[in-house]
């Protein structure tokens, strides 16, 4: 008799439970108790300075879990070392997707590494969320609906400089120095797009260098000879320092724009000479904790608190740790918005429907807005000028939209 009741009980139980189940939807990697997220980062190898980004993200989710997780679910952040080597990234990402069964990958770092898994992620329909690279190609929802960037891309940053030049010096004669690769060309394209029809007339010299070149001295001399009075410096840190120093030494005094990649005071402006760097304009979108402006800022204070408690080994002077914290907070918002519908499709959908979302460690006025045809979360930057000691923000937040 008791046994006969079992099927009945089962039917009853199913009837009671199923409406609740209908609302909860999961893809691999998500359950009532857990959200599994994958990541690759260069903890070793030539780009290991970036390793701290994933460490601060892991620390952030540890904090989230201590606070009860997201919607009661613990975040399980699985991160592997890829040494900045694309084949290793492919292997590790396949492990994450096929073996660890993550819901999606997040903040995989590096342009070549992400290029290597770009097709795979989109074929597998697993989100490649908020990749850690500034290349413009990640914003291509039509062809790659499962890939999304996060930071302002190189082109939109360059457009911001172009807008500023058009506004402040419409008759400028511009000289451009750029690194001859993807990154340099991405910037140059955005810059020309920003200048529009005037690009041809305004840019009087375009000079490139190879990463393998020892110096850019001759390029700077060439730019000076072109008569340019505005200098757009699209270079990585070592070359940026050389360019700034050489321009000063030969008495060339253009208005200088420096790409955000090299806006570190410690590793670029100090070796170039702080007095030689006065007046340089660059852009920013995060609060730099070393900046005295934020010494009493509540957001940075909370960030310091977080660093002390969850990532005590982390360097508080390293802006990458602000970066990791901020991007992790963005993902937290995406996952919160997903609610109980934790499918890969919904994760993409929610990430693509942010309206003016802000993390407090972003500069005032900068916010994330995305749409089904706009996979570029942060698209605005604010310009800042070097005063001989530190960067000083000025003007409005510039949006490239």
């Amino acid at each position: 008799m008791k046994r006969a009741l079992v099927p009945l009980a089962a039917v009853l139980a199913a009837a009671l439970v199923s409406p609740a189940l209908a609302q909860k939807k999961y893809d691999p990697g998500a359950s009532d108790t857990e959200i599994r997220i994958g990541n690759t980062n260069p903890y070793s190898g030539p780009a290991s300075a970036y390793g701290t980004i994933a460490k601060s993200i892991a620390a952030y989710f540890k904090m989230v879990n201590d606070q009860g997780g997201i919607g009661g679910r613990k975040v399980n952040f699985i991160s592997y070392d890829d040494s900045y080597s694309p084949p290793k990234t492919v292997e590790m990402v396949r492990k994450l997707v096929e073996q660890d069964n993550v819901l999606f990958v997040f903040q995989t770092l590096g342009t070549p590494s992400n290029t290597a898994i770009h097709k795979y992620m989109n074929m597998k329909k697993v989100p490649q969320m908020h990749v850690a690279t500034g290349a413009t190609k990640w914003n291509d929802p039509k062809n790659f609906p499962w890939t999304m960037g996060w930071q302002p891309n190189y082109q939109s940053e360059a457009r911001a400089y172009a807008q500023h030049i058009l506004k402040t010096k419409p008759d400028a004669k511009i000289g451009v120095l750029f690194q001859n690769d993807d990154y340099g060309k991405d910037y140059l394209k955005g810059f020309k797009d920003g200048l529009g029809d005037k690009a041809k007339a305004m840019i009087v010299a375009e000079v490139s260098y190879e990463v393998t070149d020892p110096t850019v001295d001759s390029q700077i001399v060439q730019l000076q000879a072109s008569g340019a009075n505005v200098f757009f410096n699209i270079t990585t840190p070592k070359f940026a320092a050389q360019a700034i120093r050489k321009a000063y030494d030969i008495g060339w005094k253009p208005v200088q724009y420096l790409n955000n990649v090299s806006n570190s005071v410690g590793s670029v402006l100090t070796p170039a000479g702080l007095e030689k760097s006065v007046g340089i304009i660059t852009s920013a979108y995060l609060k730099d904790a070393t900046d005295r402006r934020w010494a009493n800022d509540a957001a940075i204070a909370r960030w310091r608190e977080f660093m002390k408690k969850y990532y005590p080994d982390g360097d508080q002077a390293d802006v990458f740790n602000v970066y990791g914290y901020t991007v992790a907070a963005t993902l937290r918002e995406v996952l919160t918005k997903c609610g109980d519908n934790l499918t890969r499709e919904n994760v993409m959908k929610q990430a693509a429907s942010m309206k003016g979302f802000r993390v407090e460690t972003m500069l005032p006025g900068i916010a994330i807005t995305t749409g089904s045809d706009d996979f570029a979360p942060i698209e605005s930057v604010q310009l800042e000028r070097f005063n001989g000691k530190q960067w000083e923000l000025f003007g409005e937040v510039i949006s490239s939209n």
């Binding site: 903890y43 080597s85 084949p87 292997e91 073996q99 993807d182 990463v211």
Partner: protein, 320 residues
């Protein structure tokens, strides 16, 4: 080949064929990479193990093979299987040419010359006059080979990973059979004679210069074919994939696996594929320190490599 060895080989074959049906696609992909590395290590072993010439630059030949395959597939639309002989041929020539001047260099000096080759390769691949072909820093993304329609129609539903594994397995068997034949014959004996005592070898009428260059060429050919196969498996080539570390890892592979041993290439490949992952699992903070410790343990416990240790074990069992 003794009856017992033949039996062992057959068992290995059966295991190798059953493997992709027993493990996940991801593992299948890893084992495909093991086969790729095994071919590369066999190539390096011909040069270093059998002929005694140390190369710290075999990653460069691996890169040339990979790029040959990628360019042929991406720019010229060649089928993936056709890229392997092409990559082999290109590397054979490249290796032979590099081997000619390298003849004048012995031991450590040769190691340095090959080191220069390995260290400069990523930058050469970024060279902007070649960019139209190589894709510069961005590299080349290539399509994944699908299993042939014949197999699907015949009721063998292999997925792309399994098909690639079997393709790699077939190439590996072919390359190992060739290597085995080459090394136990006249050529192999000549290479070993040069390694052990090159003056005596010369006296016996062995053309040192020819054989040494040939060893370089054949070795590069093997590594190039492995590179092409690796590019097809990973579906992407970029200069940063082929840094100097790759060359050093190859050298680690042949030493751990066993110098001058055909089967050693396979053990070495398993080592360089899986041990870094194990090290990463043990410690995120210092994976290479763990890797180093494991490596020291291996060379300390098995000074003649895994292959040598197995040989000694077998010999002990037979003569108690």
């Amino acid at each position: 080949m003794t009856k017992r060895n033949f039996l062992l080989l057959m068992i290995l074959m059966v295991v190798a064929c059953a493997l992709p049906f027993l493990v996940s696609n991801y593992r299948t992909f890893q084992f495909t990479l093991v086969l790729v590395y095994a071919i590369a290590l066999l190539g390096l072993n011909v040069l270093t193990g059998y002929n005694g010439q140390i190369s710290l630059g075999h990653g460069a030949f691996y890169a040339i093979g990979a790029y040959t395959a990628a360019i042929l597939m991406d720019k010229l639309g060649a089928p993936y299987w056709a890229t392997l002989p092409a990559a082999g041929a290109v590397c054979l020539v490249a290796g032979f040419l590099f081997g000619l001047p390298a003849l004048r260099l012995e031991g450590l000096y040769l190691a340095l010359a090959t080191f220069a080759l390995g260290v400069s390769m990523p930058q050469l691949l970024k060279y902007h006059h070649l960019e139209a072909w190589t894709g510069g820093v961005q590299g080349i993304v290539i399509a994944k080979p699908e299993p042939p329609a014949v197999l699907i129609n015949a009721g063998l539903p292999l997925n792309a990973d399994q098909w690639l594994y079997f393709f790699a397995l077939a190439v590996t068997i072919l390359m190992f059979a060739l290597g085995w034949n080459l090394m136990r014959g006249r050529i192999g004996r000549a290479l070993i004679a040069i390694r052990d005592q090159h003056i005596a070898a010369e006296v016996m009428g062995i053309n040192n210069a020819l054989y040494k260059s040939l060893a370089f060429g054949v070795s590069a050919m093997y590594t190039g074919i492995a590179g092409a196969l690796g590019a097809i498996a990973v579906q992407y080539v970029a200069p940063d994939s082929f840094n100097i570390f790759l060359s050093i890892v190859f050298l680690v592979g042949i030493v751990v696996g066993g110098l001058a041993s055909i089967s050693g290439a396979l053990y070495g490949a398993l080592f360089i594929q899986f041990v870094p992952n194990i090290a990463d699992d043990i410690s995120k903070a210092a994976p290479w320190a763990i890797f180093g410790a494991i490596m020291i343990a291996f060379v300390y416990l098995m000074p003649t490599g895994v292959a040598g240790a197995i040989r000694i074990l077998c010999a002990k069992r037979r003569s108690p």
